[in-house]
Each structure stands twice: as structure tokens, then as C-alpha cells.
């Protein structure tokens, strides 16, 4: 469960990166594809070389969705309802991959924030991304 302190830390941390949505998103996806190559199976229609326009655009889309989630932490189910439908009925991404992408996003945050990605911020973010993943998988069955 996200405490009030968690939400504050998440908001402050995200504010530092949401201005670089495209760069952060692209880096997270790139790290996902090279660390966990099996995730590329969801993108057979993409050019997956580094710097690809499609990956940049998609990364930005993912980060913008997370920005929306950050703004609506009290009501993730409702705020992410459309995305939840999309993942359940169209994309059907196996939920294990949400954990992998969460790890990659956290690595990107740690790389950019260094020691500011301290244990408490880390815990808050891990909880937040787990909560987002749970909502995305909530209509799967």
C-alpha cells in the first residue's frame, strides 16, 4: 500500500524525469530489450536498433502513461482502465514482463538520480510500479 510519504517521494522523483519522457522511456525500453531479449517478441513489427524512432515514440508513450498514473495514485484502477483493457484483450503481454520493465525503469532512475535514488525512494517506486502492473493485469481473467 502506498503511504502518504511514498506518494510524495514518487511525485518528487517523477517530477525530475517527466520532462525527459522520450529519453527516459527510450532508455528503459532499450535496457529491457538487451537485458531480457525475450521481451522483443512483443515487438516483431518494430525496428529495435538503438535510436529507433519507433522505440523512442513508444518509450515516450509509456512514460506519459506513468506520468498519468503518478497523478492518479489514489485511483489507479480508474485512471488506467483503458490501458488495463488494452493489455488484457489486445496486447496480452505476460505479466512477468511488467516486473522486468519495472526493474529497467528503476535502473534508469538510479542512473539518473544516483544517490538520490535512496532506499526509501527505491521502496516507494518499487511499490508504485507493482501497483501499476497489478492494475494492468487486473482484467486478464
Amino acid at each position: 500500500m502506498l503511504t502518504a510519504d511514498d506518494k510524495k517521494m514518487i511525485q518528487q522523483t517523477w517530477d525530475k524525469v517527466s520532462g525527459h519522457a522520450e529519453a527516459v522511456g527510450e532508455e528503459a525500453l532499450w535496457r529491457l530489450f538487451i537485458t531480457y531479449p525475450q521481451t522483443k517478441t512483443y515487438f516483431p513489427h518494430f525496428d529495435l536498433t538503438r535510436g529507433s524512432e519507433q522505440v523512442r515514440t513508444h518509450g515516450k508513450k509509456v512514460v506519459n502513461a506513468l506520468t498519468n498514473a503518478v497523478k492518479n495514485m489514489d485511483n489507479l484502477s480508474q485512471a488506467l482502465s483503458e490501458l488495463s483493457n488494452l493489455h488484457a484483450y489486445n496486447l496480452r503481454v505476460d505479466p512477468v514482463n511488467f516486473k522486468l520493465l519495472s526493474q529497467c525503469f528503476q535502473v534508469v532512475l538510479a542512473v539518473h538520480l544516483g544517490k538520490d535514488y535512496n532506499p526509501e525512494v527505491h521502496a516507494a517506486f518499487d511499490k508504485f510500479l507493482s501497483a501499476v502492473a497489478a492494475v494492468l493485469a487486473e482484467k486478464y481473467r
Binding site: V107, A110, V111, H112, E120
Partner: protein
Amino acid sequence: MVHWTAEEKQLITSVWGKVNVEECGAEALARLLIVYPWTQRFFDNFGNLSSPTAIIGNPKVRAHGKKVLTSFGDAVKNLENLKATFSKLSELHCEKLHVDPENFRLLGDILIIVLAAHFTKDFTPACQATWQKLVGVVAHALAYKYH
């Protein structure tokens, strides 16, 4: 047998060479206990784990973190022979410590984030990929003797 490319070996040894095992080990274990509080179940005799501050300052956490990461260093020195290297530790974790191997994966992921925060942009995607592979095979070796 895990295959390591020359590039992977280089990325492993060059990062490891710059790691302060005591600091990094303490931080990784503290973060495990903070981010995944249920892992505290293995450390009832560690004293005060009641808050992130308490955990970070706890001398038993620091000491144990150093011990764990020092042992991880054996992996770095024995990349071609991980199962044998961790055979005894695997038995210990199963038979005496009763640790669910999922915890090895959790600690591995935490270690990656500690390295990322420490090395920042030097912790490149290729670095992350290699190190995630390493923590994965170490976790596998530690789980290997479970029965």
C-alpha cells in the same frame, strides 16, 4: 555451463574492481530489507529493523551485507564453475537457513540498482545486461542443491 563472452567478462571484472564490497554489500542488504520487508523474516536476531533508518544503521545488517557480497566475489573469480563454487552455500541455504530461492533473485535485482545508483551513466545498458545475467546464474547456482 554458462558461456561468457570476452566482453561480458570484461564488464564484470571492471565493475567489480571498483566496488567497495563492504559499502555495497551493506547497502544491498539494507535495501532488500527495506524494499521487501518480508525478507526480515530471516533476521529475527538482528535487533532493530523497525525503520529504514534503523536498518541502514544496524551493524549486523552491515556486517552480514559485507559477508554476502564478499561471497558474491567468489562468483566473479569463478565464472566458469559457479555450481561447484556455491555447492556448499546452496546446501546451507536449503538445509539450515531454509531460504526460499526467490530471495536470491530479489537480492540480485537490488544489487543491480545499487550498482546503477553508484556508477550512474557508467552503468551502461550492456553493463546491466551482463550483470543481470550474472546475478541470475548466481541465484541459480545457489538454488541448485535444494531438495
